[in-house]
């Protein structure tokens, strides 16, 4: 749920990076954190286990001037991918405005990708949301892997809802495709917000 505050002239939207464990969600946020100048972001908060695995979420707030006359804040979250963390994964989705689904390109992760996508739809439905109503994009990460699955195959596996969505190839550890993905999803979220806010023409 985005919040538009006419007193502080701020718009706030929540974007969640979803996907199976180890697909590169945290790496996306780390790269964004590294590249965005400090005045446009706050510190990144990671609730992680000792082994660097996301326990609850990572959180990175960004400030942009994407909307005229407003300061636009994007709150980026990641979820823990491991299957048994579903309770916390669900909590992070609360009030989501847009999703980046980060898939792992390794051949042996295709099942995990698919399971995670199905799990995302289930969790959304717990909040009364259906995937067609939530702006989302796909990111096929780890394109540098020698055994990366073909993009066509990953689209066939994950991009099969009624409305096909944009997909991005990325190598998150090197930052390739990270900002393309972020720009696309933030634009989609704002376009939707604005179209829903504008007085309907009769």
């Amino acid at each position: 749920m985005s919040t538009v505050n006419f007193a502080t002239r701020e718009i706030t939207c929540k974007i969640v990076y979803y996907g199976p464990g180890l697909s590169g969600k945290t790496t996306n946020l780390l790269f964004i954190h590294k590249k965005v100048p400090a005045k446009h972001r706050s510190d990144m908060v990671s609730l992680a286990t000792d082994g660097d695995r996301t326990l609850f979420f990572d959180f990175l707030p960004l400030v942009t001037n994407a909307v005229k006359g407003f300061s636009t804040k994007f709150q980026l979250y990641t979820v823990p991918g491991q299957v048994f963390y579903n309770a916390t994964r669900k909590l992070v989705l609360q009030g989501v405005d847009g999703i980046v689904f980060v898939g792992d390109s390794a051949w042996n992760r295709m099942n995990d990708n698919h399971e995670s996508f199905v799990n995302m739809k289930e969790n959304l439905s717990e909040y009364g949301l259906i995937i067609e109503e939530v702006p989302y994009v796909l990111q096929f990460n780890k394109r540098d892997l020698p055994d990366a699955a073909p993009v066509e195959y990953m689209n066939h596996l994950l991009n099969r809802e009624k409305q096909r969505v944009p997909h991005f190839e990325s190598i998150a550890i090197r930052g390739v495709g990270v900002f393309e993905t972020l720009n696309a999803i933030s634009r989609m979220v704002l376009v939707k917000l604005i179209s829903e806010l504008s007085p309907k023409k009769e």
Binding site: M1, S2, T3, V4, N5, F6, A7, T8, I11, T12, K14, S42, D43, V45, L47, F56, F57, F59, P61, N65, A66, V67, K68, G69, F70, Q75, A87, T88, L91, Q94, G95, R187, L190, V191, L193, I194, E196, L197, S198, P199
Partner: protein
């Protein structure tokens, strides 16, 4: 829950005023109003050396977690959480159906005092938030345009 939430300058003023009144009455240090998703709606009081946004996000996480715990043991909801430190303490309480109030206080006051006035503030805040949340999804003022 509505898809979007608008807060007008007047509503913002009212929310801020309730938090300030709460701080005055309870002698607490900082008050933060947020929703279950971690969205910050108001911060009043002492905010030096703290990052209200991060506190909001973590508090929302903590509250969601306890709510799930409550469900698991067959409780509807825990409405108040209290974290006791050596010098600084945090009182976390539910406001209406989808908001939370975080109060940070020192040993100059007591949990009992904070709880007393948090209850009063919660009631007032909830009625304003209800108004905000029930508003139809149409911007109350002007058009919003995307920057190129």
């Amino acid at each position: 829950m509505p898809r979007h939430r608008f807060i007008t300058p007047d509503e913002q003023k009212q929310l801020d005023a309730i938090l300030r009144e709460l701080l005055k009455n309870s002698d607490a240090k900082t008050a933060i109003l947020l929703d279950h998703g971690g969205f910050l709606m108001s911060t009043q009081g002492f905010t030096e050396h703290i990052d209200p946004q991060t506190i909001a996000v973590l508090a929302a996480g903590a509250f969601s977690t306890t709510r799930e715990l409550a469900k698991m043991i067959g409780e509807e909801e825990f409405t108040v959480m209290f974290h006791q430190g050596r010098r600084d303490h945090i009182h976390l309480s539910a406001v209406g159906k989808d908001a939370l109030l975080v109060i940070i206080f020192e040993n100059t006051t007591t949990v009992g005092m904070v709880r007393l006035f948090a209850r009063e503030a919660s009631k007032k805040l909830a009625s304003i938030l209800l108004m905000i949340n029930e508003r139809k999804s149409e911007a109350p003022m002007g058009n919003i345009k995307l920057q190129q």
